[in-house]
Symmetry: C2
Subunit: 189 residues, 2 copies
């Protein structure tokens, strides 16, 4: 493992990292979105059937290499020359890198910033198509189910289908996420 | 998003990152392991019922903060003060960071380096306990199933239960992984 924070003084590294990102910030892409921002979003705001989209994130070859060298050093992710001769005809991102990019959009736009309690887990994580350097990705969320907890009526479980799509509308990642969210008005639903 | 590779010249960054890791390399911890190294490991070597352990990986607070600032900036992962007053009494790693650490052990010790074709996906990804700064983690793999492909007899599907355990033997992550692996001798099994 080659963690970046070991490469130099952690404090200096973190200072560098907190510089503003020169890329455009991500935003809601769909015409509809939650009626409230993440800072005022509770279990009651997750309505089954709602579909939203957020983006875009792009990924560079340097980022793909850096993530894979730390966490998933398979040749298809860390060796451009090997990858060029492989089944995808070039370097592709680690599936865990792709999942982590999905999470960034999920955390910034979909999850509540005040009522998110925990994630019990993820089901059916799939990578149907590769992510390549330069790909522009967006997240589509579909609320599949929202049900109040029986044992703890101040919270509920939201099940979400997440899909990460590239600019050719190919799904590069899909999953079913579970999230526990606190209620705005416990007992009202 | 605050990708590290944007914080300075990518080339210089990558040079820094390729410095040797001062920590001890990871190794097989169980008394048994595959009979062949990853460089000579094929579908035939994945025997249902086999259980192996690999480790250790440790994680620092700086690494937890850095990963979360890039990919999962929820307060419980990026704000030590907020986290100290929260349900876990301190900072915990993003579940995707934990999954990525699992992958590092999986790629270094469990997966074939010559016959790994792809991962169709992951099921039942769970985070039963938090990962905190300083935790020492090990991977336990249990081969659940290994079956030859009907349509392509030169490969087979291996299903593995992966568990990441901390030094108190708590499971911090579990999953069911699917991996397609090429055969050493197509058609012989």
């Amino acid at each position: 493992m080659t963690p970046i924070v070991k490469a130099g003084p952690p404090r200096a590294m973190l200072a560098l990292m907190s510089q503003p990102d020169p890329r455009a910030p991500t935003r809601t892409l769909s015409t509809s979105d939650f009626r409230v921002p993440p800072e005022d979003r509770y279990f009651e705001d997750y309505l089954p059937g709602a579909v939203y989209e957020y983006g875009y994130l792009t990924v560079t070859e340097a980022e793909i290499l850096e993530f894979a060298r730390r966490f998933d050093p398979q040749p298809i992710h860390v060796d451009p020359e090997f990858a060029a001769a492989g089944p995808f005809g070039g370097l592709i991102a680690s599936g865990w890198h792709t999942a982590s990019m999905m999470m960034r959009l999920f955390a910034d736009h979909y999850l509540s910033r005040v009522a998110s309690l925990a994630s019990p887990g993820i089901d059916e994580l799939r990578w149907p198509a590769p992510v390549r350097p330069g790909d522009q990705l967006r997240l589509r969320t579909t609320i599949m189910e929202a049900r109040l907890s029986r044992s703890k009526p101040d919270r509920g479980l939201v099940r979400t289908q997440g899909e990460l799509l590239d600019s050719g509308d190919r799904t590069v990642l899909s999953l079913l996420a579970m999230n526990l969210l606190g209620c705005r008005e416990p007992g009202s639903r």
